[in-house]
C-alpha cells in the first residue's frame, strides 16, 4: 500500500545560474509494507529561467536516485580440486545499495567526464575505494555492477528523461522489491554542453513500516526476545496441528 503524496517542492536556490530546476516527486517517501512489490517514483519538474532560452548549446537533464552506501565483499569462484569455491575477494568500502541514473540523451552528450568525476554521477563513479590483493580489481567492479544491474538495483536509463521544449522534464524510476531501507537521495542535474549548471538534491526516506518495521527492529535490537517469539510460534503451531489432528480423528 503506497501512499501517493503529490508534493511539489518549490525551491529558492541562490541564483547561481540563469537556469534553475523546479522539482516535483510523486512520492516524498516509500513505505515497505508486508506486501511491498516495489515502487515507481515519478520525478518531474521544470527549468526556470529569467532570460530567453540560450541558442547554440544543448540542454541536458540527469536524474539519479541512490540508496544508502554499504560496504560490499565481492567474491570470485575458481575450480579447486574439481569443485567451484570462492577464492578471491575484493572489499568495497561503500557502494550504493541502489542506484538509478536517467538522462535526457546519451550519457556522453549530456555529461562531460570531468563533471562526472566531480559530481559522481555514473554508476562506477559512485563506488568508492576498492581494496584487495588482486591485480584485476576492475573485473570485480564490473561484476558488482553487472550483478546489481541484473537484480534491478543498478539502472542506467539513457534517454529515459523526457525533456520538452527545453523546459519541462519528467521520468519514472522503478524501485525493485528487494530494497534496503534508509534515506534515498534524488539528485537532478541540469547540464549545458556536458557542463553542470544547476544541481538539486532531495531526500526520499525508504522505511519498513508497521509489522515489518517492528519485526526488523526486534530481530536487530532485542534478538533474544525475537528468538523466543519465533520458538513460541513454532511450538504453538506444532501443538495446534497435533490438537487439530487429534480432534479430526475423533
Amino acid at each position: 500500500m503506497i501512499r501517493i503524496a503529490l508534493v511539489l517542492v518549490l525551491m529558492a536556490f541562490p541564483a547561481a545560474a540563469d537556469e534553475e530546476i523546479v522539482l516535483g516527486l510523486s512520492h516524498d517517501q516509500v513505505a515497505i509494507t508486508a506486501t511491498f512489490e516495489g515502487s515507481n517514483i515519478l520525478v518531474f519538474g521544470a527549468v526556470r529561467r529569467e532570460t530567453p532560452i540560450p541558442d547554440h548549446s544543448d540542454l541536458g537533464v540527469i536524474v539519479t536516485i541512490s540508496g544508502p552506501d554499504m560496504p560490499v565483499e565481492i567474491w570470485r569462484k575458481q575450480r579447486r580440486a574439481g569443485i567451484w569455491i570462492n577464492t578471491d575477494e575484493v572489499e568495497v568500502d561503500a557502494a550504493p545499495s541502489f542506484y538509478a541514473v536517467a538522462t535526457s540523451a546519451p550519457m556522453s552528450d549530456v555529461l562531460h567526464h570531468v563533471e562526472d568525476l566531480q559530481y559522481r554521477i555514473t554508476t562506477p563513479r559512485t563506488i568508492r575505494a576498492i581494496g584487495g590483493q588482486v591485480s584485476d580489481s576492475v573485473d570485480f567492479m564490473e561484476a558488482l555492477i553487472r550483478i546489481r544491474t541484473q537484480e534491478g538495483l543498478y539502472q542506467r536509463l539513457e534517454g529515459a528523461v523526457d525533456l520538452e521544449q527545453d523546459t519541462l522534464f519528467r521520468t519514472a524510476i522503478t524501485l525493485p522489491a528487494n530494497l534496503t531501507e534508509g534515506i534515498y537521495e534524488a539528485r537532478i542535474f541540469l547540464t549545458r554542453d556536458g557542463r553542470v549548471i544547476d544541481e538539486y538534491v532531495t531526500e526520499i526516506p525508504v522505511r519498513k513500516v508497521g509489522l515489518e518495521r517492528w519485526l526488523y527492529n526486534l530481530a536487530q535490537h532485542q534478538s533474544l526476545i525475537y528468538a523466543l517469539m519465533s520458538l513460541t510460534i513454532a511450538v504453538g503451531a506444532g501443538w495446534g496441528a497435533s490438537a487439530l489432528f487429534g480432534m479430526l480423528r475423533r
Binding site: 512489490e37 516495489g38 569462484k77 528487494n178 519465533s230 513454532a234 511450538v235
Partner: protein
C-alpha cells in the same frame, strides 16, 4: 500474492512458500522426517540468502518435530533419560556449529560448507537407505529369514555406564554424547534437525529398540533446533519469522495429508521413494558444485 520478508529483505510469492511448506509437510508426514534437509535447499533455489534459509529452517524443524513428539509422548515411546544425554551433547555441538558457521561466513565459504555437507550426508544416507530398502523388499518376498541377533561391540566397553530403562540399555554415556554433538553441529550448519543421522546411529550404534528411537530423537531435536534458532537469531540476526510462519502453515496442513497417504503404502516402498528423493536433491546440489557457474562472482553486502 507477494510478501516482503523483513529479515531476508526480499519479496517472494506467499503461495510458493506455502507450497514448499506443504510439499515438505506431505513428505514429513509420509516418511516421518523433519524435512529440514529438503526445506533448506529449496529455499536456496528460490533465492533466499543461505544464512537466512539455514537459520529459519531450524525454527521450522522445531514446529514439525514438536507436533510429532506429542503423538509419541501419548504412546510413551520417549526415553527422556537418553534424550537428555543426547541433548547435552547436542547443545555443545550446536554452539560449536554456530561458531564454525560464523567463522566460515566471515571467510565467505559458508555456502560451500553448507552445500558440501548436504552433498555428503544426503548422498551417504540416501544410498544406504536405498540399498537397505531394496534388501528389505527382497527379504519380504522370501519369508522365513531369522532376525539378526544384537551383538556386543566396542560401544559397550566404555566407562561411565548409565541405565536407560525405557530403552532397556546399560551403556556408557560417551557414545550418546558424541552422537548428540555430531547432530548439534549438523543442525547449526545445515539447518536440519539431524533425525536422518541420529535415527540410524541410535539403532545401529547404541542398539536402542526401534520403537523408542523416533520419539527420543524428536525430543532431542526440538531442544537442539530451538537452541540453534536462538543462537542464529542472537548472533547473526538471520531468523525470518515471516518466512518461518508461511512454511509452518503449509507444513502443518501438508503433514496431515502426508500421514494419511503414508499409511496406505508399504514401508519399504516409502523408504525407497524417500531414498530416491534424497539422492535427487543430492545430485542437484553436487552438479551445482561441479559444473562451471554462469556467474563466477558473488556479493556479500553489509559486512566488514
Amino acid at each position: 500474492m507477494q510478501v516482503y520478508l523483513p529479515i531476508a529483505e526480499i519479496s517472494v510469492n506467499a503461495f510458493l512458500l506455502l507450497g514448499i511448506g506443504g510439499l515438505v509437510g506431505i513428505l514429513s508426514g509420509m516418511f516421518g522426517v523433519g524435512g529440514g534437509f529438503l526445506i533448506t535447499p529449496l529455499l536456496f533455489f528460490i533465492g533466499i540468502p543461505p544464512a537466512v534459509a539455514v537459520a529459519t529452517s531450524t525454527n521450522q524443524v522445531v514446529a514439525s518435530s514438536f507436533s510429532a513428539l506429542l503423538a509419541h509422548l501419548k504412546r510413551k515411546n520417549v526415553d527422556m533419560r537418553m534424550g537428555t544425554v543426547l541433548l547435552v551433547g547436542g547443545l555443545v555441538g550446536s554452539a560449536l556449529g554456530v561458531l564454525l558457521f560464523n567463522f566460515l561466513r566471515s571467510l565467505g565459504q559458508v555456502d560451500l560448507l553448507v552445500q558440501l555437507c548436504y552433498v555428503l550426508f544426503l548422498g551417504v544416507i540416501g544410498a544406504l537407505m536405498f540399498v537397505e530398502s531394496l534388501r528389505a523388499i527382497r527379504r519380504a518376498n522370501r519369508p522365513g529369514v531369522r532376525p539378526v541377533r544384537r551383538k556386543h561391540n566396542w560401544v559397550h566397553n566404555l566407562p561411565l555406564k548409565m541405565k536407560f530403562r525405557v530403552s532397556g540399555l546399560y551403556i556408557s554415556v560417551v557414545p550418546p554424547l558424541l552422537v548428540g554433538v555430531l547432530v548439534g553441529v549438523l543442525a547449526a550448519i545445515m539447518g536440519v534437525g539431524g533425525g536422518f543421522i541420529m535415527v540410524p546411529a541410535m539403532i545401529y550404534l547404541l542398539g536402542m529398540p526401534t520403537k523408542v528411537v523416533i520419539g527420543t530423537s524428536l525430543f532431542q531435536i526440538i531442544f537442539v533446533a530451538g537452541f540453534t534458532t536462538i543462537l542464529h537469531a542472537t548472533t547473526n540476526h538471520t531468523v525470518d519469522v515471516v518466512l518461518a510462519l508461511l512454511l509452518l502453515i503449509g507444513g502443518v496442513v501438508g503433514a496431515q495429508f502426508g500421514t494419511r497417504w503414508g499409511v496406505r503404502m508399504k514401508a519399504e516402498q516409502l523408504r525407497i521413494l524417500l531414498a530416491t528423493l534424497v539422492l535427487g536433491v543430492c545430485a542437484k546440489l553436487a552438479i551445482d558444485l561441479l559444473i562451471q557457474p554462469a556467474e563466477l562472482y558473488s556479493l556479500t553486502a553489509g559486512v566488514l
